[in-house]
Structures are given as structure tokens and as C-alpha cells.
Subunit: 389 residues, 2 copies
């Protein structure tokens, strides 16, 4: 293991997180009037829209509470998280207890969607805030909302389906998000259900989504794990699968499990081989498992978030194995993202590049991008590396 | 008017339609087993997926019946249209009479969506087929389905809304598609309601969506026509607005209305000024009315369909005014599309180019692309030009 390299990386990620990314978002994004955060911002930080994306409200709350819990007990971070929690609880649920996807600045609802990611991000926000404050009422709300997510994930509480029952399919996103949500719940406020649930989700991913014969992690499959030979069923999302790989590597580290280590590594290997752009660098967005055209037309663009997930996965792989291959992958990607994604003028990263690295559009925050994948990556890498100092 | 140019263009569009585009799709796409069409095809015509997009089933049926009605009474075109009509009527409606968006090859439903474009394309398919055959039962089905579209468009028959009522908005797509559907119904089998309805939709577009002060056609507005200053409300779709422009120019021609001519021309002028890519040529996909980032990240790509709509609009504008500006616009775009979109090897056009004209993905047919915008453009231009021979 190259400990001098790891030490340099630690300084790099800490500096980037605390002196570049966080100051881009805070304190300017705190909504003093209505609570929560104003996060839809252009390259220079100017506000594009004062609406609030509920995913990102939860994620920003998680980030501030997590910084408070793990980096430094700064009152401004705790106050920001408190404002996020209050906005989530007061404005982001409908009467039936389902969370909205998109609300106006004052909390009036704009859009409900037929999935439950707003809920999973609220769980980790509430859990991190409960840990920060010791507030047992908030902790119970986190556990109750996690219970609700479990019910949605099994169909015990129904969400109106987007598809007819003709061709049943399941997406890796569900066991993945539940796995990570449970990991965070366990590692902040604790929940006795988590270990067993985590075991089940990893088993499902391994059994149904990981295909050793074709060295691939599928994005969706039939309920029995078979590949659905239609456009949607064939579509791969390498950055997403690599995110799943690091959730499993994290679990391998937590449990000291060699079995999970080998699973996480092969998921990373398979999807790096498919997703890394040999011509321009960076992780491509979508691919077809058999090389046919996918439905989307922006499949060869470079988005910020797959790069962040792959930075975490490759660093975990390197620190857990010492294999030079993973160091090389991590360093290639780090240099690529510094060159193309990092906005050295205004801070933070661009979100959307063309395949060749040129900027497609300049928003730093919108309905899907905000202070999450980038600062989570910098924070996770910094924390991971601190044990090698 | 440069009649020699118009004559050359007529030959060009006729040849492209009948010797390049139509032979790409037919007869290979006729589904002899289940009826309808197998249209999801790669660059070389190989099948990517045997699912059926209901929009495109209707559009292909319309195309074949229209060719039969207006170009030549070929039995193969009529037989193809008959197969499309049968598939639409037998497999594409749910029990409540709402049409699906996406079905399997055998007609089993895959996806319902919360809008009624499948219906509008089925109306024009049924109407064109009823004209071809004189089948009064099919004609009545077309009129009844048009009635259903009217009910959806006014909310008299409700479709579950995608958005909460906090910030009401209306899209130009509704009066546009209804206007064109009514035009086609009128010009095939006739419907006494159409003239008055068309007048109302054009008045709505003019009053609420066309903004002379900023030389712009909005894609969506508040119910009173004011601009909604949020990301979605600010997002422009120049190719779509230009499609609306030619529907109105077509009406100007049909009614010999100078008022509609001036309206259609200014809509084209406004959105050509905004949408034409000065650097690379072609019509861009999305723009923000005030130059901010839009939500989509592929907004600077070049899609096949906006180019086709702009080819029709500019040719109509030129033939109706004789203004050299429109001839130049038409010819620039025609040369651009011949160079970048036309697949000279396998026929038809690519659908999805990067901003610089390089190919982003190779599908000729998928859930949204099929034998419609390109052959409709070639057919419309050919028909329009035939009166100048």
C-alpha cells in the first residue's frame, strides 16, 4: 500500500470538501424565510429556481448532520440540518404519509412520483440529525419512515405501478438504496433489523443481478433474475452498479467479510470494464448489454454522479486489497474529474459533460443535482483515508 | 419565386420518400403474425426490440393510408394500413377506452401514460384509412375517438394529473396536436365541428403562447398566458413551436387567411432566431427563455424531428411569401440534414446527433422514433411542391 499517496489523497479530499464544495453551497443556500435549502443554482451560485427538490432537501440535511457528527461539531452545520429536518417534516409529506418529489419554496406541493427515494433520503437525514442531537423522537421518526420504505419495497404498502403486469421486472435500485439506507441507520442511531435485512439485499443482488458468465451487473431483471431481452431490460448503468459495488465493499469492511469483498470487487471490475470510456476517460452513462442502441440518446454523456461513485469504489478497493490496478483506476478518474468536472473558478463540479468532456450545461443544482454525490464522495474518501494516516 | 428550384425540390423529396425512406420501413416491418408493425430498428434495419409503441403504430398506419390516398393506390399500402388499424383497435385500448402507450408484439399491454397522444395518432390513422376504404364504421370510430380527445383536452374526461394543483400550467402541445388532428380529420373524412374548433385553438396559441415583446413562442404558460418563472416554465422547444407554426401556415393556406399567414410566419421567425444553431447548423432541442440552464442536459443535441418540422415550415413560408429569407433557411437546413442526418448507406435518417453533428446513437426506430416525422415531411413537401410544377 502506498501510504504516502494515501496521505496526499486525504489532504486533497479534505481540502476539496471543506474549502471548495461546502462553501459553494453554504451558507448561501439556507432559506431563512421558509426553512430548508435553496439549491437550484447556476455555475456561479446564482439561483435558477427557488423550488425545492425533496430528494435534495433530505440529502443536504444528511450532509450537514453528518459533517457535524464526524468532522467538527460546528453549530452552523447543526442549525442547517435542523432547518432541513423541520422543512422535510412540515412540508414534504402528503396526508397519506407519502413524500412529495418536488415542492415550492414555501412547501406547497408541485409533484408526487411513484417511487420512494424521497423517503429513503429523509430516513438518512433524520437518522444523522437524531445522532447529532440525541433526539429520540426524531430517531423514532427515522425508524418509522424506514419501516414505511420496507413496506413500499415489498409491496405491502402499494404505490401505483408505472407498468402493466405483462412483463414483471425488478430494478437493482431497490435493494441498493435499501442496503445503503439500512447501513446508515445502523451506523448512526442503530436499528436491530438492519443486519439481517442487509444480508438479504446483498444476497438478492448477488443472485439475481450479477452475471458472471457475461461479466456484468444488470440494472433490471425478471423476478427470477433472468435477462429481459427488450430495450429497457438490456440497458446497463455502470455508475449505478459501481455505487452498488461500494455499498457492498463498505459492508465487507464493516463485517470483515471476505465473501462480500470478493463480490464487491467483481461488480466493480465488471462494470469498470464496460463503463470506462477508453477514448476520453470517465464513466459512460448507459450501455446496452449486447451493444445495441439504448432508448436514451444521451447515453454517452458524462454525468458527475457516476464518477463520484466510482471514485469511492476504486479507493475502497485499493485500500482493502492493496492492488495497484485499483490505485491506477482511482488516480485516472481523479485526474479526469479534476480536469473536466471541477469548476476551478466558482467551486463544486459541473454536472453534465458531453462525452468528450466539454460542458453540456452549467447548472450546479437542479431537480436531481445538489450537495450530495460530490461531497459524500469527498467525505467518504477523507474518512476512509484518515485511518491510514 | 424560383420555380426551377421548387421543381428540383419536388423531385428530391419524392425520390427520398419513395426510394429511400419508405423502402427502409416496408415491407420488412409488417408483422405477419400479430398484425401492426415491428418498427424498433437499428441503423441497418435489424430489429432491436419486437415491442410496439402505440404512437408509432398509429403514425405508420396513417402514413400508409395517406400514401394510398394521395400518392398511388398500391394494394400493399392499403393492406399495411388495414393491419395497423386492426392492431390498434384490437390491442391498444384498455377496458375504459383509454389507449396504451406501449404494448408487446402480441398486443399485451406494457405501459399506460397520463396523456392522450396515442389517441390523436389513432384518430388520424383511422380517418385516413376510412377515406381509403370508404368504411363508414371506421370513419365513425375516428370521429368518436376525436370526441374522446376533446373530452381529455378540456378535462371533461379526467386523466390522473402528473402535477399537484399548486402551480397550474398549460402546454402548447395540446392546442397544437388538437389543431393538426382536426385538420386531418377535416381533410380526409370531414367533421363539421372542425372549423370552429381550429379557430379556437389557433386563438389560444396566439393569445397565450406567442409573446411579441420578447419574440418568443412559449412551450408552457400559466392558464392566463403569463410566463411561469421556474425551470419548466422557462423551457422552450423551438422545433415544437416551429411545428405549430406550420400547422397555422397550413390553415392560412387552407382558408386563404392573411391573418393566419402573418401569425405562422412570426412564430417561425421567432423560434428560428432562437433555435437555429449559428455555430453548427440545425435546430437545437431546448433553450431557456432567459438563457439560464434548462433541467435537461441533452438540450443542445440535434434530434431528427425538429429538423423535419422546420423543413416543412420554411418551405411553406417560402411558397406562401416568395421571400428569399425562407428559401435560404430551407436550403441551409436541407443541406445540413442531408449531410448529417441522412444515412446514405442504409437509408432513412439517424435520430440523435450531438450538437456538432456526430452520431450519438444509431436507432432508426424505438419508443419515440419511427416512420413519421421524416416521411411526413417528405410527403408534405412533395405534395406542396406538386402545385408549382
Amino acid at each position: 500500500m502506498d501510504t504516502s499517496y494515501l496521505s496526499q489523497l486525504h489532504t486533497f479530499y479534505k481540502t476539496q470538501l471543506l474549502e471548495d464544495t461546502i462553501p459553494f453551497w453554504f451558507p448561501r443556500s439556507l432559506d431563512e424565510q421558509y426553512g430548508g435549502f435553496l439549491l437550484m443554482r447556476d455555475q456561479d451560485g446564482s439561483l435558477i429556481d427557488d423550488d425545492k427538490a425533496v430528494w435534495i432537501q433530505g440529502r443536504a440535511t444528511w450532509l450537514l448532520a453528518t459533517l457535524y457528527n464526524t468532522v467538527a461539531p460546528k453549530q452552523e452545520w447543526l442549525d442547517g440540518a435542523a432547518s432541513g429536518v423541520q422543512f422535510l417534516l412540515e412540508h414534504c409529506f402528503d396526508r397519506a404519509g407519502k413524500m412529495y418529489f418536488h415542492v415550492a419554496r414555501n412547501g406547497q406541493p408541485i409533484r408526487m412520483r411513484r417511487y420512494f427515494f424521497s423517503e429513503t433520503f429523509a430516513v438518512i437525514a433524520l437518522a444523522a440529525y437524531a445522532k447529532a442531537t440525541g433526539d429520540e423522537q426524531i430517531a423514532q421518526k427515522a425508524r418509522d419512515l424506514f419501516t414505511r420504505c420496507l413496506e413500499y419495497s415489498t409491496g405491502q404498502t402499494a404505490i401505483a405501478p408505472k407498468f402493466e403486469p405483462t412483463r414483471p421486472a425488478k430494478a437493482i435500485g431497490i435493494p441498493m438504496i435499501m442496503l445503503n439506507t439500512a447501513q446508515q441507520l445502523r451506523e448512526t442511531i442503530g436499528d436491530p433489523r438492519c443486519d439481517e435485512l442487509i444480508k438479504g439485499w446483498i444476497a438478492e443482488i448477488e443472485k439475481d443481478f450479477v452475471k458472471d458468465d457475461i461479466r456484468c451487473v444488470m440494472e433490471q431483471v425478471a423476478p427470477d433474475g433472468s435477462i429481459i431481452d427488450h430495450i429497457d431490460g438490456r440497458t446497463l448503468n455502470p455508475g449505478h452498479a459501481i455505487e452498488g459495488a461500494w455499498f457492498i465493499l463498505h459492508e465487507a469492511s464493516y463485517q470483515n467479510s471476505d465473501r462480500y469483498l470478493r463480490l464487491g470487487l467483481k461488480m466493480l471490475d465488471y462494470m469498470w470494464e464496460r463503463g470506462w470510456d477508453q477514448q476520453y476517460g470517465g464513466i459512460l452513462y448507459f450501455l446496452d448489454v449486447y451493444g445495441k442502441p439504448v432508448q436514451e440518446y444521451w447515453q454517452d454523456m458524462k454525468f458527475w454522479w457516476p464518477q463520484n461513485e466510482a471514485l469511492i469504489a476504486t479507493l475502497l478497493a485499493y485500500t482493502m486489497t492493496g492492488e495497484d490496478k485499483y490505485k491506477q483506476w482511482h488516480e485516472s478518474l481523479r485526474q479526469y474529474t479534476e480536469k473536466y468536472f471541477h469548476d476551478h473558478q466558482h467551486g463544486e463540479w459541473f454536472g453534465y459533460l458531453h462525452r468528450d468532456g466539454s460542458i453540456a450545461q452549467t447548472a450546479k443544482g437542479n431537480l436531481f443535482k445538489g450537495p450530495f454525490h460530490l461531497p459524500r464522495q469527498q467525505w467518504y474518501c477523507m474518512q476512509l483515508l484518515s485511518s491510514f494516516l
